[in-house]
């Protein structure tokens, strides 16, 4: 499960001008209690400019709240099962969601995802 206490972090993020962004990220996480990973593309729906959003995510990764890994989209657009430390760890082929076929990962998007960090 992803962490839930973002209010304390939002206070300390204020000094970096990231208090509101961290709070918004916290609301997003709380709105999806069953997720144990966040597809960073989904964060674009937050009303935060991309620069601030990126800084807020980096702040939370540095604070150990999140860990950033990589996933690959399937040809249908969902994320394939499997998370990788770096893009270089991604195998050449992965199965689609139904294990009906394997696709070339080089033809697909690599997506940064956030999972629970050390804290």
């Amino acid at each position: 499960m992803l962490p839930k206490d973002f209010d304390t972090l939002a206070e300390s993020a204020k000094a970096h001008g990231l208090g509101d962004a961290v709070r918004s990220l916290g609301q997003f996480v709380r709105a999806h209690p069953k997720w144990d990973q966040i597809d960073t593309r989904d964060l674009q729906q937050l009303a935060i400019d991309h620069y601030t959003l990126t800084r807020a995510v980096v702040f939370l990764v540095d604070a150990g709240v999140f860990r950033q890994l990589y996933a690959v989209t399937t040809p249908s657009g969902s994320l394939a099962d499997g998370l990788f430390e770096t893009p270089r760890d991604i195998p050449r082929k992965l199965p689609d969601r139904f294990h009906a076929f394997y696709f070339e990962t080089s033809d697909q998007d690599i997506v940064p995802v956030l999972v629970a960090g050390r804290k």
């Binding site: 999806h32 069953k34 997720w35 144990d36 990973q37 597809d39 996933a71 399937t74 249908s76 969902s78 994320l79 099962d81 050449r92 082929k93 199965p95 969601r97 139904f98 294990h99 009906a100 076929f101 394997y102 995802v113």
Partner: protein, 281 residues
């Protein structure tokens, strides 16, 4: 330890049922299968660690502890697999991707799960063609002991349907969670795939989605694929961990995929659960 690692999980399992078990029960004892496939001295000839190159050979045939009527038959084979390197090399000014030929050991398993299931287990592979070739190989290799025409696919349609229908029951929520679903509209030939969030396993939680899926099934159409996560619990030893499975396959109604290695008891647990949901009317 080796048996556990290579026989269970990370594989496709193709399930078959005898058309008339009474007529072939005697041929499905381990003695009968051993004599037919290996010879009269079969107990002296297995297990064997030998794995031929470019072919499969019988490596083991044995009973299962606590299940006197069950048996496992195992094949080993070594095959050269081509792996293209990601770094290009330049030869006479032209770029090439070097290919390494790497020997890979493959394991095929046949499990008689009494009283009425024959399981063909084939390791996951990036090429569906290779899986189907191995599937055909297994039936050919079994021919002296088991007549393919006396078996039929175990149709898991009912199991998938009941897994969907009963997913919100209290007991179900402790046992499994569903994620992706694929439906076939028999009247139009249309296919509908629902793929949930990678980690949420709650695609059917939204009432609108569940209503759509149940309406399609009630109309007589089929769910051909269903991904189910079988949940581990602190107060029970099996399953030993969360098991991710896809129930269904390419035009193969009795196929499942178990993603990731697991224990023998875990695979049997999934099979028993499928038996249970298949029986519910």
């Amino acid at each position: 330890l080796i048996r556990r690692a290579e026989e269970n999980g990370d594989q496709h399992i193709f399930y078959f049922r005898p058309r008339r078990i009474d007529e072939i029960r005697e041929r499905l004892t381990i003695e009968s299968v051993g004599r037919a496939l290996i010879g009269g001295t079969w107990r002296e000839r297995v297990p064997s660690a030998e794995a031929p190159e470019g072919d499969f050979a019988i490596a083991d045939l044995r009973e299962l502890p606590g299940k006197p009527n069950d048996w496992i038959l195992k094949f080993y084979g070594i095959f050269q697999v081509e792996h293209a390197r990601s770094e290009r090399v330049i030869i006479e000014g032209r770029p090439y991707l070097p290919i390494d030929e790497v020997p890979e050991r493959h394991v095929l398993v046949v499990r008689w799960n009494s009283p009425n299931l024959l399981e063909l287990r084939i390791g996951r592979d990036t090429a569906r063609k290779r899986i189907e070739d191995r599937f055909e190989f297994l039936w050919t290799a079994l021919a002296n002991a088991v007549d393919r025409t006396t078996f039929e696919w175990w149709d898991l349609t009912q199991a998938r349907k009941k897994l969907i229908e009963l997913k919100d029951e209290k007991e179900s929520k402790k046992t499994y969670a569903l994620r992706d679903t694929r439906l076939v509209d028999r009247s139009s030939g249309g296919r509908y795939s629902l793929e949930g969030h990678a980690s949420a396993y709650d695609t059917l939680e939204r009432p609108e989605v569940k209503r759509f899926v149940t309406a399609i099934l009630a109309a007589g159409d089929d769910c051909t694929h269903l991904s189910a996560k079988w949940l581990a619990a602190d107060d029970q030893a099996v399953p030993s961990r969360e098991l991710h499975t896809v129930i269904g396959g390419k035009e193969k109604w009795g196929e499942i995929v178990i993603a990731g290695k697991c224990e023998a008891a875990d695979v049997d647990y999934v099979t028993e659960r499928l038996r249970h949901f298949s029986r519910i009317r």
